[in-house]
């Protein structure tokens, strides 16, 4: 039976991961809807959700036929790559090597692009619909991947889905209430935290797939996450040291 102790890391990882993706998708849909109207943006977003549901329906049953260990290994390695990519970027943003991922800038850029009269068809606004479709499909795929990765290999698919669904509903509710870009959420901090969680899950499952018996089983995950946090913070401090960068 799934206990709350087992389900909590999966729920929180899926919630945080989905939160970031939902913020990105909703920002783009909001920008499109504000400039080109809700009809085309809504149709695009709904089509994106439909395509996503189709993919999940096709891929979902296949997962049950795959043996657990290879599944853990494949998902673990993909999750490790995915999480490390986020963490790597979040650290580079934290030290100022790449600019912060500002939702306000994305919103304004998307709005300016769509205001261009050269892109204004009469009936269904294809650009608006496509922009929404692409945003929902791509960000949604990332959410599906997070849910599968966090939940599939330990029978916690339901818990992870609940976490992701809660995050998506929360962001949609916030977006509906404020109808403004979600720039005030500290996105990089969120990505840093999600990167650490996903990387920790990735190491854990890759290890399980390789036959590693982690001390404390699932309770090793917070320990692995703590180590990632320590190394990430130490790396930030190291790169920030003025003496270090001046010497290069």
């Amino acid at each position: 039976m799934t206990t709350l102790n087992m389900a909590f890391p999966a729920i929180s990882a899926a919630f945080l991961g989905a939160l970031v993706e939902a913020v990105e998708a909703v920002t783009i849909v909001l920008a499109v809807a504000t400039v080109r109207g809700w009809r085309s943006a809504g149709i695009g977003a709904l089509a994106g959700l439909g395509a996503l549901a189709l993919l999940v329906l096709i891929l979902g049953p296949l997962l049950e036929r795959v043996p657990l260990r290879p599944l853990q290994l494949v998902i673990g390695v993909l999750l490790l790559l995915f999480g490390m990519r986020w963490l790597h970027k979040a650290i580079l943003r934290a030290v100022g090597i790449i600019p912060l991922h500002d939702e306000q800038i994305i919103f304004e850029r998307q709005s300016a692009l769509l205001r261009d009269p050269a892109h204004r068809p009469a009936r269904l606004d294809r650009i608006a619909a496509l922009a929404s479709f692409k945003a929902v499909l791509l960000e949604g795929l990332e959410v599906v991947f997070i849910v599968l990765a966090v939940g599939a290999s330990h029978g916690l698919l339901g818990a992870a889905t609940l976490g992701a669904l809660a995050a998506c509903l929360l962001i949609i509710a916030i977006a509906w209430a404020v109808r403004r870009p979600l720039a005030r959420l500290p996105e990089n901090t969120l990505k840093f935290a999600v990167g650490i969680l996903l990387s920790a899950f990735g190491v854990f499952w890759t290890g399980e797939g390789l036959g590693v018996a982690w001390p404390g089983d699932d309770f090793a995950i917070p320990g692995i996450a703590a180590l990632f946090l320590l190394v990430a913070l130490a790396t930030i401090e190291f790169v920030r040291r003025p003496g270090m960068r001046a010497r290069w």
């Binding site: 390695v77 790597h88 030290v95 890759t206 790169v239």
Partner: protein
Amino acid sequence: MVKVLARLLRELAGLFVDDGLLAIFVLGSVAAAAVASLLSGLWGGCVLLAGSLWALSVSVIGRARAESSGEHLGRFRQRLQGGR
């Protein structure tokens, strides 16, 4: 059609690989862990964890170093151009 598929695959790969060096280090750590786990499961776990942490640190420091040397080169070029 082929172009669309190629773009789709590129975008899909982009979900997992952004920095090639980081991806190579991570996959290298997994391969090393697979070999180490033949000796003992715990050794495999240690190699995987240490390798992943090392990969993260080294790729960030390497990127910072590359950016920094690029900045130095830019300033050097500016100084050269100013001197003319």
